[in-house]
């Protein structure tokens, strides 16, 4: 469904992604692992074309989306949930959801405001509250809900567990597993290996913008040297 090949991305002069390539199949949950600064966020931003790759190709559903403007990438069915959450703090929850609203599509689960409120009951209670009145966990739910309003085919979740209480992270794990049941394809970037192992089918380890490992968590367990070198738990 998503195919990345030979991706090179820069921030200013810093070479962040180095010939990165991997594929994701429909219905899969893939975890991008690696230490801070390894290039996980840049990978996500490069897929969304928020960072323009210098070279390489991103193909989604058979279509080349490299160098497309980000809003077209989003309309094409890629939903991006950024690391810093970036909810619109001056807008109410309902208005935040409205910003994310896009037309339905036939080949992806469709979401309505009501369905999302059912999924995240906390948000429902506070639908007229402004974003800035929400707690960190609620903000994280809102940012996911907002992206789902675009009815994406593939969801990119950047470090969803960062800075969230363990008890909320556990709920989030359940939510992500539910997305998977609905047929959504998900890529999450994570530093918390415990969490990644619960939700993802496959792990991709990135270090210095290069792919160092691509396989199941069972395979990863068998290669402790890789785990220790790049994840160092």
């Amino acid at each position: 469904m998503l195919e990345i090949s030979g991706l090179n991305s820069f921030y200013g002069k810093a070479h962040i992604l180095n010939d990165l390539g991997f594929t994701v199949s429909r219905g899969e949950v893939v975890a991008l692992l690696g230490r801070n600064g390894a290039g996980k966020t840049t990978t996500m931003k490069s897929i969304m074309q928020l960072v323009r790759p210098k070279s390489g190709k991103v193909t989604f559903d058979g279509k080349d989306i490299t160098a497309m403007p980000s809003h077209k990438v989003a309309r094409f069915g890629l939903g991006y949930v950024p690391e810093e959450r970036r909810i619109f703090t001056d807008l109410t929850i309902l208005e935040n959801l409205e910003v994310g609203r896009q037309a339905k599509r036939t080949d992806a689960p469709s979401w309505t405001v009501d369905a999302l409120f059912e999924l995240f009951p906390n948000l429902s209670e506070r639908r007229h509250n402004r974003g800035k009145a929400l707690s960190g966990g609620e903000q994280q739910m809102l940012t996911i809900a907002r992206t789902l309003m675009g009815n994406p085919k593939l969801l990119l979740l950047d470090e969803p567990s960062e800075g969230i209480a363990p008890v909320i992270v556990e709920q989030m794990a359940k939510t992500i597993l539910r997305f998977k049941q609905e047929g959504l394809t998900v890529i999450i970037s994570e530093q918390n290996l415990h969490f990644a192992r619960i939700v993802a089918d496959r792990a991709i380890i990135i270090e210095s913008g290069e792919k160092k490992f691509d396989g199941t968590f069972a395979d990863l367990e068998k290669q402790p040297e890789i785990r220790d070198a790049y994840l160092s738990v």
Binding site: N36, G163, V169, N192, H194, S232
Partner: protein
């Protein structure tokens, strides 16, 4: 022995809502203490009151027996409280050494001097502090090109510049990789041991908390619901319910500190 930090019934309300609802605790000399809790529990508000960014609605904060409630941050710093930020706040346009020199200039009250060249002042002292955090070899690099983990270490060196008796660290390992986290906390523990500094820190990574904190406090909805050792806190049913959850997300086997 008197407590380094003593907090008495601290309260902060925002528009009628109690963000911090009567919190009392102490930090003993040489203690490494963690403050944990769900987002929005009041940790940041609490920290900001300790450091003077926010004025408490009521309650008292004592530092080494002296009442410092409601004083501005720069005053509290001068009384021996260093701090590091969740999002690093370093001087991007200066070198690593100059960042520390800046804090030393402040410590020695040379901020408004107009005669000497600043880059020459207190350089040796700065290098010594950078050595403590293992950054001496990067002293003359521009701060703007440092890796994130190095920025965190630099901030720690800055926080040590006024020979503090207490360090307040707001989510010191946020945004760091697991190994960097362990290294930074090990470094902090060494500083506590070697310099007799007390540390109070907030943290979300339970592996870090359980591995390093001598005592742990749990804040929920503005109130302390637990204050004890790692095993006491871990086995507290209320803490499990509001914060820790089923325990799938942190190492189970970590020994109690």
């Amino acid at each position: 022995m008197t407590a380094v930090l003593k907090v008495e019934n601290l309260v902060k309300t925002f528009g009628g809502v109690k963000a911090v609802a009567g919190v009392s605790f102490e930090v003993a000399p040489g203690e490494l203490k963690a403050l944990i809790g769900p987002n929005g529990a009041g940790k940041s508000t609490c920290f900001n009151m300790l450091m003077g960014q926010l004025k408490p609605t009521s309650g008292k904060v004592y530092l080494n027996g002296e009442n410092i409630t409601g004083r501005p941050p720069r005053d509290i710093w001068r009384r021996g409280v260093g701090r590091t930020f969740q999002i690093t706040g370093t001087y991007q346009s200066m070198t690593v050494a100059e960042n520390v020199q800046m804090a030393l200039m402040s410590h020695h009250r040379k901020l408004f001097a107009v005669r000497p060249y600043a880059y020459k002042l207190y350089r040796d002292e700065a290098l010594a502090l950078l050595d403590v955090v293992g950054m001496a070899d990067q002293a003359d690099r521009a701060c703007a090109i440092l890796a994130y983990g190095d920025l965190k270490r630099l901030e720690l060196a800055i926080a040590l510049a006024n020979e503090p008796t207490l360090l307040l660290m707001d989510e010191p390992t946020a945004g760091m990789a697991p190994r960097e986290r362990i290294n930074l906390m090990q470094l902090t523990a060494d500083i506590v041991r070697d310099r007799g500094v007390s540390v109070l820190f907030t943290e979300h990574d339970m592996d870090v908390v359980f591995a390093h904190a001598h005592h742990i406090m749990v804040l929920n909805r503005g109130e302390l619901i637990a204050d004890g050792t790692a095993s006491e806190v871990r086995n507290n049913p209320q803490v499990q319910e509001v914060y820790l959850g089923g325990g799938t997300l942190y190492e189970q086997e970590t020994a109690d500190a």
